[in-house]
């Protein structure tokens, strides 16, 4: 709870620091704030408490997800270093917004009431709309912001509509009470038209937020237009918060109506896996490829929602974090490469293994992790997700589909590795300039990915 208040306060401080002449202090200050929040958040471990008239509950689930989201943000922020060195105007706002959006993300993992979920999503989203358009020189960035905003607000509207219908059927916003009322409706409310319609509409609304197909149409364009460092945030923290919120909702409120919404969710998962993986194959731009891959990873993550067992939450936690570390490394290096070579295509990575061994190695590990190959965290992510699902009867076919499409994924992830290590350096391409701070961050991220790939118990045993 304190972390929400602290983050809001720190965001406001950042806004004021932004008025200073030299803005160099912003980055270290934000990192310090995040470190403080990370530490304080952990104090709530094993100490479940409810706040605001039972609107928010801070339990271990919330603490664990808050932890990995704050940590991911900590790892992303160093890649904003170029804002600081250029001493751009108005960057205080960006650092404030990122903290504010984190407040929304924390609310999404600790809500106990549908209204708090809605407010959390809105706080997160509005900050993201602004960050998507934060590169004012770029038309693409403006387009991304507009697209994201229009589509995003439409789907939030849709979701609100669903929440209202569920309220109409059950008379409450509290997720525990909704579950109770659904029981009272008989067979988990499956036969109550208003209730089920509301549930399905909410599923559609959140699916948009986690960029699951067929509500993914905004993803490639918005990811491509958004400044890369915020794309990294979008595909990691926003997705983690979205999936965690989704799971919590389905588990706490709609578990009894499982037969009613299961087919819809299965369709969403299959489509996400299919569109994400197949779409990524044909891309020429690495950034668009990562956008499609993020759709497919939404599919893998949502598979845990079909299985309510004691492995589901730790599967989401592990998968999200594995996916986050890999994405941050990929987007981080992509940002450095594309800024210097003015291209986000695979060719820009040609020969990176020779010119910048460290950058290339961290991207290679990230790609292996995204592809789910052992020795990296991504393997155990997929492993836990499949394990969680396999106990569910009649879901073996879905795992087979996921496995086949995971093999497709290896194709496009390896194109990057091949470009880096097997293609010669293009003429006129010199080594990518990177700072020692960013190098250090990449080493930490890569070490984390490998560490979790060897000793997964460090994180999987948490929840």
């Amino acid at each position: 709870m304190i972390s929400i208040i602290l983050l809001s306060g720190f965001g406001i401080i950042n806004l004021f620091v932004g008025f200073l002449k030299s803005k160099r202090i912003l980055l270290p200050l934000s990192l310090l704030f995040l470190a403080i929040v990370f530490g304080i958040n952990l104090l709530d471990w094993n100490d479940t408490k409810s706040y605001f008239d039972n609107m928010i509950t801070i339990d271990n689930f919330a603490v664990a997800f808050t932890g990995i989201m704050v940590l991911s943000t900590l790892l992303i922020l160093p890649f904003t270093q170029h804002y600081i060195t250029r001493n751009d105007e108005n960057i205080g706002e960006l650092y404030a917004l990122i903290l504010f959006s984190l407040v929304g993300a924390i609310m999404m993992v600790s809500y106990n009431n549908m209204l708090m979920l809605f407010i959390g999503i809105e706080i997160l989203s509005i900050a993201m709309y602004v960050l998507a358009g934060s590169d004012k020189q770029s038309m693409r960035s403006a387009e991304a912001a507009l697209k994201y905003f229009l589509m995003g607000s439409f789907f939030t509207g849709v979701m609100l509509f669903g929440i209202v219908m569920v309220y109409g059927a059950t008379g409450t916003f509290n997720i525990a009470e909704i579950a109770g009322s659904a029981e009272a409706l008989g067979t988990g409310g499956v036969n109550n038209v208003m209730f089920m319609l509301g549930v399905l509409i909410i599923i559609i609304g959140i699916s948009f937020k986690v960029s699951a197909a067929p509500f993914h149409f905004w993803t490639p364009d918005v990811y491509e237009g958004t400044p890369t460092v915020w794309t990294a945030y979008m595909s990691t923290v926003v997705k983690t918060a979205g999936v965690a919120a989704f799971y919590k909702l389905m588990d706490a409120a709609f578990a009894a109506s499982y037969p009613g919404w299961m087919p819809t969710l299965v369709a969403i998962i299959v489509l996400s896996l299919l569109i994400g993986n197949v779409g990524a194959v044909v891309q020429q731009s690495m950034k668009r490829m990562l956008a499609y891959s993020s759709i497919s990873h939404a599919g893998y993550l949502l598979m845990t929602l079909l299985a309510f067992n004691n492995l589901s939450t730790s599967a989401i936690l592990f998968y999200s974090f594995a996916y986050s570390t890999a994405s941050i490394a990929a987007f981080g290096v992509l940002q450095l490469v594309s800024r210097q070579r003015q291209s986000e295509n695979y060719e820009a990575f040609n020969g990176l293994g020779k010119t910048n061994p460290l950058l290339a190695f961290s991207v290679a590990v990230a790609m292996l992790s995204l592809a789910g190959i052992p020795l990296t965290a991504g393997f155990f992510g997929k492993f836990f997700v499949f394990s969680a699902l396999i106990e569910q009867p009649n879901m073996m076919w879905l795992i087979v589909v996921a496995v086949i499409l995971a093999a497709v994924g290896i194709y496009y992830y390896f194109r990057v590795v091949i470009a880096m290590y097997l293609h010669p350096v293009a003429e006129g391409h010199t080594a990518i300039k990177s700072t020692s701070f960013i190098n250090a961050m990449l080493i930490i991220i890569t070490a984390l990915t490998i560490l979790l790939g060897i000793a997964p118990a460090l994180l999987s045993g948490v929840l």
Partner: protein, 486 residues
């Protein structure tokens, strides 16, 4: 303890080699692999020839899910470890005359690969096995893709995707089996090999699990019709990678069948054994006939390898002791022969810059040592009595005969066909008149002899005293059969 040493020493050495820039790397790598071989010999000396898993270590790895870091060696594992640790130093030594770019990375990858291979052979936990199975793939992919020939990028990429595709099915099957083991709580499940052996499932379930597992192993071996990645990959890879692939890595697939397929889903095996035997025998004939038509030496050996592996697969799926023991001994023989043959092709290629049979000829006139060694390895491959190939192929063929005499008769063609393509190759390369390319062909150097002599010794050792090796695996194979026939 000794298993852990075997497992981690190459990885440690790989890190060490990474730090050494320049030519020192290959010497350090060679010494490291020799040390590894010494450790394996030490283990063999201390090995008690019974059916138990020895030198075992079993500590929790992912404790919450009941997954253990269980390693150990029974006779089957030990033979594979011996093969690996024997061949890798020779493979490293065979590269001494090559000037690979970034040698420290090259040798580090070879050593790293060795850890993966050993890991596959000593894992007694399904997920650990899968883990090392993939760990072994990554270094070999990079070795082949970075130091390979002109078409290396698409070819190795195909190899990589193909094998990963298969192994993902294996993973899915393992996860399913894992949840079939006793226990309702997550931590009560087990992925230990013995827990898998105790599973009882109806035959429909076993049937699909069989195919999930078999797909992974069949691609790795490769069994017809899953072999299409193999000839190109063998041809385009640098010689050392080809040796690793053909000499050791394809044994991962056969070993996987013996350890993780036959005893785990015996009902599935009995349903599909006929199909697999037919596929394997098609592979034998198909590989041999195509080998006869090859002009490129490396491709010829690649196709001959499909034929030899086909016979091993046919033998072990007959599920009798001769077949399994024959498979074990033939794995050793094939590893030794194929590494030797690929090395000789490499020697010829480096002196003449060609692998086309039609461009070669008359090499025997100036090279007594090379000719003798080549002939011996070749005879081993053709399964002439007194050589190693004879023991394995005899046992395998007799097991196939016992299973079904028609299968046996067709599979027996392998000996005739092998003689055809091997002798045709030898004739074209070594005899006849000298060509432009072989005008000034020098005999073996000291290094080359150092690689070939141990291999030739092993050809005769296995050929004359096969019991040295058969007795190691016999109790373990017997126990495996009793589990299969439970």
């Amino acid at each position: 303890m000794i298993t852990a040493l075997l497992l981690f020493w190459p990885a440690l050495a790989a890190l060490l080699v990474l730090l050494i820039k320049g030519e020192g790397a290959k010497k350090v790598a060679f010494i490291a692999t020799l040390v590894e071989f010494a450790i394996a010999l030490f283990a063999t000396v201390n090995f008690v020839p019974d059916a138990t898993t020895q030198f075992a270590i079993d500590t929790p790895w992912v404790e919450r899910a009941g997954i253990g870091f269980s390693i150990g060696m029974d006779g089957i594992s030990l033979l594979m470890v011996l093969l690996t640790t024997f061949l890798v130093p020779l493979i490293v030594l065979s590269s001494f005359k090559h000037d690979y770019k970034n040698p420290h990375v090259f040798y580090a990858l070879v050593l790293f690969m060795q850890t993966g291979l050993i890991g596959v052979f000593v894992s007694m936990d399904a997920f650990l096995f899968y883990f090392f199975w993939e760990v072994a793939l990554i270094p070999i992919y990079f070795i082949a893709a970075i130091w390979g020939g002109a078409r290396r990028i698409p070819v190795t990429f195909k190899f990589f995707i193909y094998t990963i595709f298969g192994s993902l099915f294996m993973l899915a099957a393992f996860i399913y089996l894992y949840f079939q083991t006793a226990g309702t709580e997550l931590a009560a499940h087990s992925s230990n090999v013995n827990a898998f052996y105790q599973l009882t499932m109806d035959s429909a379930t076993q049937s699909w699990i069989f195919w999930f597992l078999f797909l992974a192993f069949a691609i790795k071996m490769p069994v017809f019709p899953f072999h299409t990645w193999q000839p190109d990959t063998y041809t385009e890879s640098p010689t050392q990678a080809t040796m690793l692939l053909a000499g050791i890595m394809l044994k991962m697939g056969i070993y996987g069948v013996i350890r993780w397929l036959l005893p785990v889903v015996p009902l599935g095996v009995s349903q599909w054994a006929d199909t697999v035997l037919v596929l394997s025998i098609i592979g034998i004939i198909y590989g041999s006939i195509i080998a006869i038509r090859q002009h490129d030496l490396k491709r010829l050996i690649a196709y001959s390898s499909i034929a030899h592996v086909g016979l091993i697969a046919a033998g072990i799926f007959t599920l009798n002791e001769q077949g399994l023991q024959g498979g074990m001994i033939q794995m050793l023989s094939h590893g030794i022969n194929v590494v030797g043959l690929f090395f000789i092709i490499d020697i010829i290629f480096r002196r003449t810059n060609t692998r086309e049979i039609s461009n070669l000829g008359g090499i025997t006139q100036t090279t007594p040592a090379l000719s003798i060694m080549f002939l011996i390895l070749l005879m081993g491959s053709v399964a002439l009595p007194l050589t190693n190939g004879f023991i394995g192929e005899f046992l395998l063929l007799s097991s196939v005969f016992q299973y079904n005499y028609i299968f046996g008769a067709v599979a027996g063609m392998t000996i005739i066909l092998a003689a055809v393509y091997m002798l045709r190759m030898f004739q074209g390369v070594m005899f006849g008149t000298k060509s432009e390319a072989t005008e000034s062909f020098a005999d073996l150097t000291f290094h080359e002899k150092a690689v070939l002599i141990p291999l030739v010794i092993m050809v005769f050792w296995i050929g004359l005293f096969p019991n040295t090796f058969l007795s190691i695996s016999e109790p373990a194979v017997g126990q495996l059969l009793s589990i299969i026939n439970r």
